[in-house]
Symmetry: C2
Subunit: 222 residues, 2 copies
């Protein structure tokens, strides 16, 4: 599942199930591209480790980050045979590649086919949540939502306070939320000053008060 403002009861797809099939494992260095907008879709990919970024740009340079892909996420669903986003790695990343025909021809590998369909449906649902965030939430709500979703998705519940790694830059977050880097910074600073988060260097955030964060994500205060 992609990083969006979903309500959390989704599970990543067991990598083991795929590892057992010995699907080819692909490695992507930080900054390397997996595909570009317009490329033919030959494979789908399941992320094993690392984080990727899916982006789309307008001619005038405006950019939208469509999604961040985390381990367990399936990326590269085709429409009309070509990729409609660019995809690159935010850190070193390993992926399993799955021939596209598995998605479209259920007889090739019925179990995997069914997993892919479930992933696509999850994706639609998650994107619907993201619409609400992009269209109807304020900047502070967006940033709080982003951290909340990330926490649900990759938070480590065994430690307190929970620490989030942010492999993406501030401008990636901004382009994901429809904001500017300055606004993202200011919203993070506000959360820090309210002692809801602690900022441990550029790419690490500790969540000190998860329920306060969740409240701000839904606009229940400020």
């Amino acid at each position: 599942m992609y990083v969006t403002i979903s309500h959390g009861n989704a599970q990543p797809f067991a990598p083991s199930k795929l590892a057992a099939r010995k699907t080819p494992l692909k490695t992507l260095k930080k900054g390397a591209y997996l595909y570009f907008e317009g490329d033919d879709v030959t494979h789908l990919f399941i992320i094993e480790t690392g984080v990727v970024r899916l982006t789309r740009v307008l001619e005038d340079g405006r950019r939208q980050v469509i999604a961040f892909g985390y381990p367990g996420d399936i990326i590269g669903f085709p429409a009309q045979d070509t990729h409609h986003t660019d995809c690159d790695a935010l850190c070193d990343t390993k992926l399993c590649s799955i021939p596209r025909k598995v998605l479209e021809d259920s007889s090739a590998d019925p179990d995997l086919h069914s997993v892919l369909i479930q992933a696509a449906l999850q994706e639609i649902s998650a994107m619907q949540d993201h619409f609400m965030m992009l269209g109807r939430k304020s900047a502070p709500e967006k940033v709080a939502s982003f951290l909340t979703v990330l926490l649900e998705r990759i938070g480590d519940t065994s430690v307190e306070p929970q620490v989030l790694a942010l492999p993406m830059s501030r401008s990636d977050i901004a382009d994901f939320l429809g904001l500017t880097t300055e606004t993202v910074c200011r919203c993070l600073t506000a959360l820090r000053k309210a002692e809801i988060i602690r900022i441990d260097g550029i790419s690490k955030v500790a969540v000190l008060d998860q329920s306060a964060l969740a409240q701000r994500a839904d606009g229940q205060l400020n």
Copy 2:
């Protein structure tokens, strides 16, 4: 395909193919609901005639129109067994219902199964386009984009100028684009004053200059 800012080479799915199967035809009066958020998903639906509206609301009443469904569109894709939007009819509407299991069990009806998967993939692609619009376009660009997409989707190319029916209210358009009704009005008025459109009553717009409209949709001039 849903009404989003896609780049137009998608085709609706031939209703004939389904009519031939004599799938049950359901009728929905204007204003009637097809399902609510939280309902169990038992069927998917293909729209034969009419227009439906998919919406989601926050507790505080903020609303996002996720999509408008036009003839040929397939709606009701499940994630985790329940609907995540409300769906109601903007005018009298007829739909074919398809048992959900056709989507998930390819053996029941392989051809239809494959049609549904293609529809879901289209949907993902169209939603990605919509992200760019919600996150990165100005109000005038959003309104121009909306009209442009509607024109590609349902425009009647046999008449000149092309006339668009708008069965949805201004606030539906606003909630689809992440704006207010006032802003939608002002943007429409601006297009009218620029003689790009003509407003023929509340629910009809004639597009006088399609290329000027397309340019504004991409921000190439005011």
